[in-house]
Amino acid sequence: MTQITHELARQYLLSRADGLLSDKENLFLKEHLRGCETCRLEEERLDHLHIQLQDSFRERWDAISPPARPLVTSLPAPESQWPRFGRVAINLALFALWIWLYRAVLDYLKIIFSHEEFRTNQFLLAGVLILIYVQFRKQRFQLKVDALPQMYAPGLGLMIGGSAIYLIIERILDINTLSATLFGLATYGFLGLWISPRRWLEGLPAALLLIGVLPFGDHLETFIGYPMRLATAWIVQNGFSILGIHSVGVDTILILESGLAQVDIPCSGVKSLWTGMLFLIAATWLEGRSVNLRWLGIVWLVGGMLFVANVARVAVLVVVDTLAGWGILAELIHVPLGVLAFSGVCGIAVLLVRSQPQLAGIPFADPLNILGGESSVEKKRPVWLAPLLAVLIAGMALLYQPRPQPVAAQAAVQWVFPSELQVHTDSLSPELFAWLTQDGVVFADRWQFNWGAEESSLSGDLMFITSDNWRGQHKPERCFEVQGQKVESVQTVMVAEDFSLRVLRLSRGPLQVSALYWLQTGNRVTDDFATRIWSDLGREKPHWVLVTILLDDVYPPDSASLGALANTVRAVVAEGFGGNELWIK
């Protein structure tokens, strides 16, 4: 038998490991190994490495199941003959049509993300955009800008459905934030025609988060906050009744809620619903958890917990303020109570979100594939889809019709003032008039006034804004803030049994003044914007007059002269209606 060297034996060992050793070489190797401990150790080392590698690879990758359903089930259509720049141009044209369809919303978004009064939303947007950028880099999110649109039913459904509702909403309701929400949802559906379906589903919470930075505050206050406040007051009152305390009425609780308990921070009251939902969506996305029916259940549960937390907060404040009479203590604890309850609910929300399955561990099954059939992660890209989309989007853009806006007129009503209320017309500048009337004001009037005897006279500015559309009347607090005044306090005051108004203390540097406002129609007076907005949802849309009085000095909210002035102005407005409950004559 021919002897081989150690060097050759080691080369043979490596060749054997790769299946490259001939039978003859194998015999030489075996012979050498019988008599050489060093080379046997090398053989053992190689075998060990072989086992280590195989075991480690299997342990890591055999545990991950391949997709259960076939990824492709039919011969794919031939690749588009369009050159790359042609495909990009088609996509750009579709995008331009899309922007044209939503031109009205873009004007609104320009206001939201440039005007000073929406600073919170702008900061939120910046934060969310940075978060999205970082996450998309991490998750390798890609938009296939040079591919033709694909047939993806959920994306297409969201795009068409959202746009159809948008056209209806714009024509009938004309609520900008709702239109912007639909724009966000439909645009994400539109983008789904270029994103892999798996990535599209994973990015859904990010899209919701982006939509969530829109200014929902006023709408939450109106459409959810108002019924929520009524329900809260009713629950708290009944709770106390069960405990044998019958002296606390719903009205008392509502007034407390409107003043002390309506904390203007995002983690308390109705605003906590908005902040809480944003938190939940962000947590779902950052934790990489799936969005499914169970997740929707979690959304409802967290919403319910925030409501219960608010009821508990109001109940505690009623006990401290109304029952015990410790108003200062109530002032001190109302913010910490809101923060505490909100933090607790957020903690539970995180635990609930973590109980959801992780997206990375789920074999993709395209749960939104509502049309059935192929569950492929890559969809067909038929050449006819792009022209069809172009026709569809252009058609919808042509169908777009905004709600007709009433034309405003300055001083079209002859308001009749009593002799003790001396007024001088203070014409509105064209800019102010245009700003006031941009959202459908019918009449806008302003006067300078003097009222009462000399020793208790009041003077200032009086303004009536008349509209049959809630959007025509802005909350005076916001108007004052835009004009550079700081709202120091807001208090609801009952001037008469059926007449509540808001008294504001404003400051600009060292100068302090008082202001009053209320909303009035032929037979109703309220200081609550929610009540005014809800009345628009009825069949008949009455005229409402927003009465704002800006005084030249500061007065206690319960001052008798303020009440008397308010009653006088109320009578003037009532006279303007001339006994008609709904419309100014």
């Binding site: 790769d18 190689l46 480690s56 990758w61 794919p76 880099r137 798996r198 990489g288 890559e378």
Partner: protein, 195 residues
């Protein structure tokens, strides 16, 4: 040469027989998925999604170019080579993204550090798995033959066809990889021997 069954299956696919397409996909999908997964897994948990997309793209490309398949290698080898080319594209774009991400994070510091390299992520996922750490530390030209040989049980000839390099080069790369792995796993080898 192509095996008879594969030849028939391909002919039926070319004729547009959807059952044949589905049969082909069902037969090769698990293998292609695992091949892509073994190359793209970086411990981030997202390798599975990428592997799924690569497996699907492989089928789409293969089915679109059935006419160009000459049968000089087996069908599996041909599909493997498409998969690997697609995986290389993914790895390239990943490297670009990681580079951009590092640049971005150098500008803006966030609480969590996302700038782990592939190797670091694997260790993060399987803290004790030194073998995988050692494999992921190899460069791509040495890592691929190791994965194909030791996980996918490909012969040197098949690896050569898949990677489009001579058989001698594959053997040489495997030898280099084994030498590096032996050095990196020396401590573990000594511990195992002493047990």
């Amino acid at each position: 040469m192509i095996a008879m069954d594969s030849a028939k299956l391909l002919a039926r696919c070319q004729a547009g027989d959807e059952l044949a397409v589905e049969q082909l996909v069902r037969e090769y999908q698990p293998r292609l998925f695992r091949l892509a997964l073994s190359i793209l897994d970086d411990g981030s948990g997202l390798g599975s999604a990428d592997a799924e997309e690569v497996a699907q793209d492989t089928f789409l490309r293969a089915l679109r170019s059935l006419d160009t398949f000459r049968g000089e290698s087996s069908l599996a080898t041909w599909l493997y080579s498409i998969t690997i080319n697609l995986c290389r594209n993914v790895l390239r774009s990943r490297r670009r993204r990681e580079h951009l991400q590092r640049l971005f994070q150098a500008l803006v510091e966030f609480g969590e550090d996302h700038s782990h390299t592939t190797e670091e992520r694997v260790v993060h996922h399987e803290a004790t798995d030194r073998v995988l750490k050692a494999v992921f530390a190899l460069n791509e030209k040495h890592r691929l033959p190791v994965i194909l040989r030791y996980y996918h049980a490909c012969s040197v000839r098949e690896i050569a066809q898949i990677l489009d390099v001579p058989e001698g080069t594959v053997h040489s790369r495997l030898n280099t990889a084994r030498s590096q792995l032996k050095i990196r796993l020396e401590e573990e080898w000594t511990e195992d021997r002493n047990l």
